[in-house]
Structures are given as C-alpha cells and as structure tokens.
C-alpha cells in the first residue's frame, strides 16, 4: 500500500487549480470564500507530502499554522460577508459593484 509522493503532489495541484477556477467562476461570495479554503488545503496537502519526502516535521507544523491562520481569516471573512449582506442584501459578487464608475 505505497502511494508515490507525486500522486499527493498532483492531487494537491489539481485541488489548487480547482480552487483557482472556482474562485474565478463562482458568483456567490461564500463559494468564492470556500474555494480559497480549498486552495489552502491543497497547500496543506503539499506540505504534508513534502514533509514526508524530507522526513522533516516542519512541514506538518506548517500545516498547523496554515489551519490556524485560515481559521482566523475565516472568522474575519465571515464578519465581512455578514456586514455586506446586511447592507446589500445580496451575496452575488457581480452585484457588489458600487465602485465601478
């Protein structure tokens, strides 16, 4: 039951790309936000895979930090999204466009 490290990396790359694509395509703010989380988790997977490759624990510690920061970001992000929902009554990024001259 040995999975080569490249498999993890490729999976991570695919996840990251899906995240980018979703970020660019999705119109709902929450979905956009979730695609960012997906990207972060792809990064985490990369870290873990590389940590295994180098037998270095630092990669796993990094994952810890990333998760924490992602959580902090999520909290702030939710607050911002709530604030904008309360003023604009929409979560569609196309309708959040007060500033396009």
């Amino acid at each position: 039951m040995i999975v080569p490290i490249s498999a993890y990396l490729i999976l991570a790359a695919i996840l990251f790309s899906i995240g980018i694509a979703a970020f660019l395509i999705k119109r709902n703010v929450i979905s956009v936000f979730m695609s960012i989380e997906l990207m972060l988790n792809a990064v985490n997977l990369t870290f873990v895979a590389f940590a295994h490759r180098w037998h270095a624990v630092s990669g796993q510690i990094f994952v810890f930090f990333v998760m924490v920061v992602a959580a902090a970001e999520a909290a702030v992000g939710l607050a911002i999204i709530i604030a904008i929902f309360r003023t604009r009554q929409t979560l569609n990024v196309d309708q959040i466009n007060l500033m396009k001259n």
Binding site: I5, F23, F50, R53, W54, F65, E73, V76, L98, M99
Partner: protein, 515 residues
C-alpha cells in the same frame, strides 16, 4: 537582554499597547472621546521606533545581527530600517486620523489597536527569515487591513472594499503559501538562508525552485499591487477610509517589499537571471498599467490607487539592479514613497471628510485657494509623486533608476522615466484643479472643509518634512539603506547547520518513498 525579547522588542511594545487599547475600548462609554487611546498608540509606535534604534545599536556594538527563536528571526540594519519606516508611517497616519473615527459610532479604539496590530505584522515580516514566520506576519498585517478597510459603519462602499480586499488578499495568500510549500519541497526547508544553501549545492529540481519563487512573487505581487495582480487596488482604495488607505498603501507594501527583497536576493540568488527577467516584466507592466489606468480616473482615491500601482512598478525596477545598489535603492524608494503617499492621503483625509463628499478631481477645484496650507501640502506631495526635484520622490526615482541603469537595464529606465512623464498628466490634473479658481465660486464651500486639528497638522508636517528631507538631505537615509543592503548581503551567520537543511544531506539520494 534575552535575545528573543530583544529581537521582538518593537513588536512586543506595539502588541502590548494594542492589547491595552483594545481592552480599554469597550470599557470606555460609547460617545466618549478615544483620543487618549490614540495618543497611547502614537506613543507606543514612537517607542517601538526607539526600540528599533536600540536594536540597531546592539547589532552595531556586537557587529552581528540579532538571531532569535532558533534563527527564525533576524534583526539587522535591514529590518531596523523597515521597523523605523513602519513606525514612522504608523505615527504619521495616526496623527493624521486621530479624530477621524472619533464619533459616537466610531469605535476609534479598535481602529488604533488594529493599526498597531497591523504594524506588528509588518515589522514581523521584515525581520523574519523563515517563510513560516513571514507568512504569519503577512497574515497579521493583512487581517488587520481587511477589517480597517470596512471600518466606516454604514458606508456600503466600505464593506465592499473590505470584502474585495479580503477575497483577493486571501487568494494571494494561497499563492504565497503554495510557493512556500514548493520551496519547501525543492529544498527541504522553509528558512530563507537554508533554501539558498540548498539551492547552492544544487537540487535535482531546479524548475520546482523557480516555480516556487514564481508563486511567491505572485502572492507578494498581489500584496504590493503589481500589475497584473493589481485588479483589487482601485476598488479597495476607493472604498476604504482615506487614512486607512494612506496606511495600507504604504506599510504593508513596504513590508511585502522587504520580504520580496529577502526572498529573491537572499533565498534565490542562484536563479537570479530568471527572476530578474520576471520582475523586469512585472515592473514595466505595473508602471504602464498603473499610469494608463490613473489617466482615466476621476475619483482622486482611485487615481492615487493606480498611482500606487505605478510606484510599485518603479520599486520593482530596482530588483533588476545589482544586489547592493538594488536593495539600497528599493529601501530608499520605499521610504520616500511612504512619506509622500501617507502625506497625500492625510491631506485627502482632511479635504474629503469622513463621508467623502469631495471625491472627484472636480470636487477639489480651487481647494488650494480656500485652504492654502492644505493645498500647498497636497501639491507638494503630488509634486513628489510626480518626481519633481528637491522632493523625496525625485531622489528616490533618481536613485532607483541609477541602480537600474547601472544594472544594465537602460531600457527599463527609459520605460520607467517615460512613464513618470506620463504620470505627471494625472497628478497635474489634480494639482491644476487645486489651484484653479472655481468657475462659479460658491461661498458655502468653505464650510464643508473641516478645521485642521493640531495632531493632524503635526502629522502632515511630519510627512512633508520627511519628504523634503529625503529629497534634499538624503545622506543619512542613504547610509542606513546602504547599511541595510550590506547587512542583508553579509555572509549569513545564522545558526543553520546542515542538520536543519535536509536537502543538503540527502541531495544525492533523495528519499521519496515512505517507509
């Protein structure tokens, strides 16, 4: 002093003050003035500057940088330079906006605390030599900025700006992180010095290293709003409160550039030819897109946003120069840019008011004739942004492009200076508007402009003097930037051993299989 404490002394001061302010804020009855908290913030920022100077003296005395936290933090002239710069930015911004949020629904205390926390993150970024720490610092500063952008309650553009900044900021963070992960994969370490060491002994995956750096550059490119990663900038700057824009268009940018300098020049010197070309293109693109974009703008803040893109381009140009000159030039330009941009936004803060009734160039018509001093200051900052001699902006540009031409990139210098010529058009449009008599002068215009308070005047005077001094007597600053460059390029004395850097041990026999 314990080296760990010493290395983080400015950050600790700011953190403690920030926490105190944050805790004090809800304890003060709503509606009461928060000025005291503001002054506390200002004093603490000044104290952190003093602490940075102390750090500098220590490194000078021991002839070695301060290493702390197992080599993840390194304080040398380079970090101290940016510490001082950031502290200065914070002091001036806070002075300029001491009363800005002081209103019944303002929660000014939170504003002060967030600014300080942001400064902590920025300072942390500049002294971190471990990508993990850089990332943490980056996030601390970014998250503060996200919140600050939407700090004006009930102003729809504010929360919109906050949201956009947040989404694109996190997006870029993901790129940055992916870059770190790939760098870790290529070298087995996330310490910048160890990465350099691993790359210098050769790696079996040179393309991975370049890909990693590319991702990091993309991530930081978003933060410094370099084209083509600039799309968020105009919207965010337009919606955010003016004093916040002044802060976040300079502070985080300076810190991100510090990080970029460290990563490119120190971490990846072995593939310099590749990233230099990359940054050449980024620089040229940023200048051109920034200036062309600014030409189309009517809104002053939007215009300044595009101008900040262009200035990021000038700064990026310095990266194509030879390391010692390039670093020094980039540091110096960061300082001048900070001085003049903070000043410009401080004036805009004063002229535009809380709700920004005055936002387009036409709204500013004749402002200098009604408020001569503010107008003169704004024109001074604008002239500095154009790059008129005897201002910091000119000397910064001059210094950067000297380095660029010295690095053999004359064409980039030509592109850059032509761009600065182009840039004068839109700056001048505002400048000329300031000094044009209004076609039908309205007597009631005067009432709309708020009175300039003493702290705001102090802040404005500070940034104006800084801009002037950087243009006329840049010697001291140049000494510091040269020292910064020298310290940064000095052979690394950090406690890195090959044990910390698995790539060196196993570069010949990569062990990719799990046991």
């Amino acid at each position: 002093m314990n080296p760990n404490t010493l290395a983080l002394l400015p950050e600790i001061i700011l953190t403690v003050a920030g926490v105190l302010i944050m805790v004090a804020e809800p304890c003060i009855a709503p509606g009461k003035s928060r000025r005291g908290l503001g002054w506390l913030a200002i004093v603490s920022a000044a104290a952190s500057a003093v602490a940075s100077v102390y750090q500098l003296n220590v490194t000078r005395a021991t002839l070695a940088p301060i290493h702390a936290f197992s080599g993840t933090i390194q304080v040398d002239a380079f970090s101290v330079f940016f510490h001082l710069l950031i502290a200065g930015i914070v002091v001036v911004s806070l002075l300029g906006s001491l009363d800005f949020f002081d209103r019944p629904d303002g929660h000014a205390g939170e504003y002060f605390a967030l600014v300080l926390f942001g400064a902590v993150g920025m300072m942390f970024m500049t002294s971190a030599t471990e990508l993990l720490m850089v990332f943490v610092g980056l996030e601390i500063s970014s998250i503060s900025s996200y919140i600050l952008c939407g700090f004006r309650k009930g102003i729809a553009t504010g929360s919109e700006s906050s949201l956009k900044y947040f989404l694109l900021g996190s997006f870029s963070t993901a790129f940055f992180l992916y870059g770190i992960a790939l760098a870790f994969g290529a070298t087995g370490s996330t310490s910048i010095a160890a990465i350099a060491m691993a790359l210098s002994v050769g790696t079996n995956t040179p393309h991975l290293a370049f890909l990693a750096l590319g991702m990091i550059v993309i991530g930081l490119g978003f933060k410094v709003s370099a084209a083509p990663f600039h799309v968020w900038t105009p919207d965010v700057y337009q919606g955010a409160p003016a004093p916040v824009v002044g802060l976040m268009s300079t502070g985080p940018k300076a810190a991100a550039f510090a990080v970029l300098i460290r990563i490119t020049f120190i971490g990846f010197p072995t593939i310099e030819h590749r990233w230099a070309a990359l940054l050449w293109i980024l620089a040229a693109l940023s200048m051109t897109i920034g200036n062309l974009g600014a030409l189309m703008q009517k809104n002053v803040k939007r215009m300044l946003a595009y101008s900040s893109i262009a200035h990021a381009g000038y700064l990026l140009a310095a990266f194509t120069a030879l390391p010692s000159r390039g670093i020094s030039a980039a540091c110096f330009y960061t300082a001048t840019y900070a001085a003049m941009n903070v000043g410009a936004f401080a004036v805009v803060t004063q002229l535009a008011g809380y709700d920004e009734h005055h936002r387009t160039v036409e709204d500013f018509t004749g402002a200098a004739l009604r408020r001569p001093w503010l107008g003169a200051l704004l024109s001074f900052f604008l002239l500095s942004l154009i790059g008129i001699p005897f201002t910091g902006g000119f000397f910064g540009k001059f210094y950067v492009f000297t380095a660029v031409v010295g690095g053999g990139h004359t064409w980039l210098a030509i592109v850059g200076l032509l761009n600065s010529g182009l840039a004068c058009v839109y700056y001048l449009r505002l400048l000329a508007a300031l000094y044009t008599r209004h076609p039908h002068e309205k007597g009631n215009d005067r009432a709309v402009f708020t009175k300039l308070s003493l702290p705001a005047a102090l802040g404005l005077a500070g940034s104006a003097l800084a801009t002037l001094a950087l243009g006329i007597i840049p010697g001291r600053t140049l000494d510091l930037t040269n020292a910064a460059a020298a310290d940064l390029l000095a052979p690394n004395t950090a406690p890195y051993t090959s044990a910390n850097c698995p790539a060196i041990q196993s570069s010949n026999t990569p062990d990719c299989q799990p046991e």
